[in-house]
Symmetry: C2
Subunit: 399 residues, 2 copies
């Protein structure tokens, strides 16, 4: 057989992070690559009890097909959580998804067509870029500084490209760790509203903030909502509870959500209902907020350890900012060092990271890299950074 | 905001079955509509034990992100089950999916582009049609009799339309319940191979056969496989274990599977790993074959009850064949009766079914309907058919 694939397949780059994750599974490589939470802190007892409750209370009915939109009691519980954060939505404004990744995919599928333009931060989340590019969408990066996109460049590109959507991760962006100022959030919103451009606000990390008192209002909360909002907001329990449940959600105008639900019918009928029911039970019986505070504290400690290790003279070449939350250090090597080449040396030495190049929509800086600080315990992190330092030496000797 | 949707969204029809399912949830309507298994026979104790084993044996690692391709021990276990059915595949020939629905979607996404042609049975599975049509694919029905597609018409349409793929459900087709003869399976395979046309063989119902000794070789098993096969074969545990786990799989040439895995990375990273781990434990510790035999016996009994009810004089207008497996009766009303109009009367009387019209790729017969016999217990089935008879009377009085 001569298999011939679609333009979507031809446009798909395999995700570097996923490929590295595959490479490092089951061997001795210390991975600072993935966006993996710390297993030590997984609330396994709460998850186990949640499943026990599902079977005990739901009985055999808990094992039947469910609604495409998601398990209704879970959607109501998430509405309550969002209300406590000052966001008012109803279940009909919400679609449950297989992680927030699927929310990005589904919105792209129903809102954008090949040839459309999307504006993004540059660099930005690579698996979102993967979707946009394979879908034949033109992806244009907007210039930014530490507070978010530059409003002048945004305005110029809105005018020049007439995009249908802007994709942003305004709180602890992946990969940069950046937090947008409230002013820039409002600025983006105002410009998008006046140009009838949709905003996809991706917020997987917002709850992983190191200053518990800091507030980072979602762009969705700043707009009129949920109906007629310019914003679709997506988040996930993968970082705050556990990834294995694969449960994300997206909220916004009910007409957009309804289109996404129709698409989800076609894509997979619905996500795991057992996972959704278990998450509902967990939210009902487990103090998730206390758990999130535990994670914040631990991740801040791990971030500070990595920071102190990166301050070592062996890394004096690297430039980075201290993240205020999230999971990553974003570091810049001296010009001329290709992080993809450095990765080969690093894997030989037994440590992995993600080269920055794949996070760029355009004009990639090959001397960038992303280091995860949440997944690795203290001892391994020290060894990992030692190995990275050795890899740097080996790289420099080789060129 | 003025929301403007993609051509995919515009091409999506909401699934009639899913909409009816939504309508009937939580009220007193007896639904003969969905393809729902009987809850009574869900192996809830085995499922609960399987999850207990996952947590006890896997510990916190069981809650981490997994591989896009799926949980490796589960893929190996499915390979063993398939080997017992005479099909030799390796894990790299297999992708785990969120139900077989997702397998159909992903293959369509990576193999077909807008403007391509696909040949199908007519009528066929409506949620597959939904994917093809929304994707801008031209769907052409091939004429068929009780043994499957007619080889002459297949040849003519292969020549005329130069399709990229043929989609078939050769064993207990949805909605018709039809079983293809081995000769027709071989004929389809030979013609597709010589024309380099891919076959997507969808087999959710093959194990639900009423004659345990009957064998229905998959088209995949009749071809050289797994590498260089003209066939991608997909199935699911939704019908034989429980739907809530949402676990399906697809097997075929490893190059095609690799493209689908890349697409799945973009679509949702991976399906629920807890569900996949639980299914692995269930396959290891539960006699699934004995369970499937129990289901077969029960579903045959339910089918026979529905058959005897349909033989009542009140249904003398209906034409149908006795299904040899699967979940459905496919019935034809007299010409001129619109099953969609009949459904309105039926819902008023308290019973639901699926009008046949949405199962047609082209030239729909509006006087057809699908009745599910697996989900409803004996008492409800009798009441349901009484209500259907009343609806028929009411319909005739109204026209």
């Amino acid at each position: 057989m001569n298999y011939t694939f679609s333009s979507f397949a031809h446009g798909l780059k395999s995700s570097a992070v996923r490929d590295i994750l595959k490479l490092t599974q089951g061997n001795s490589i210390i991975s600072l690559a993935g966006g993996l939470p710390a297993e030590n802190y997984f609330p396994i007892d709460a998850v186990r009890e949640a499943f026990e409750r599902v079977f005990a209370e739901g009985g055999k009915s808990s094992l039947q097909y469910g609604l495409t939109e998601g398990y209704s009691p879970l959607r109501e519980a998430i509405c309550k959580r969002m209300a406590a954060q000052g966001v008012s939505v109803k279940p009909e404004n919400m679609l449950m998804t297989t992680g927030s990744q699927q929310a990005i995919y589904l919105l792209t599928r129903v809102y954008l067509s090949a040839g459309d333009v999307i504006l993004v931060e540059n660099p930005t989340y690579l698996a979102a870029l993967q979707i946009f590019k394979a879908s034949g969408i033109q992806v244009v990066g907007v210039e930014a500084d530490q507070d978010g996109m530059l409003m002048d460049d945004l305005e110029a590109k809105l005018n020049r490209y007439r995009p249908k959507m802007v994709y942003v991760t305004p709180t602890f962006a992946n990969p940069t760790g950046k937090v947008w100022s409230t002013e820039r959030r409002k600025g983006l919103l105002a410009q998008c509203r006046s140009n009838n451009v949709l905003i996809l606000e991706d917020d997987p990390y917002g709850e992983i903030k190191f200053d518990a008192n800091a507030t980072y209002p979602s762009i969705f909360s700043l707009d009129e909502h949920p109906e007629d909002s310019a914003v679709l907001y997506t988040s996930t329990f993968s970082k705050t509870v556990v990834p294995a449940l694969r449960t994300g959600w997206i909220v916004g105008d009910s007409r957009v959500i309804a289109q996404m639900a129709k698409a989800k019918q076609a894509v997979d009928l619905h996500s795991s209902t057992l996972d959704q029911q278990a998450l509902y039970q967990l939210l009902a019986h487990f103090d998730l907020d206390a758990h999130i505070q535990t994670i914040r504290d631990e991740y801040r400690t791990r971030m500070q350890l990595m920071k102190s290790l990166l301050q070592d003279a062996r890394f004096s070449d690297l430039r980075w900012d201290e993240p205020q939350g999230g999971m990553f250090f974003w570091a810049m090597l001296p010009e001329g060092i290709d992080a993809s080449e450095l990765l080969k040396k690093a894997v030989e030495k037994g440590v992995a990271f993600v080269p920055g190049v794949d996070f760029y929509a355009e004009n990639p800086r090959r001397n960038t890299l992303r280091l995860n600080f949440t997944h690795t315990d203290n001892a391994s992190m020290k060894i990992g950074l030692d190995r990275l330092a050795e890899a740097l030496v080996a790289y420099k000797q080789s060129v």
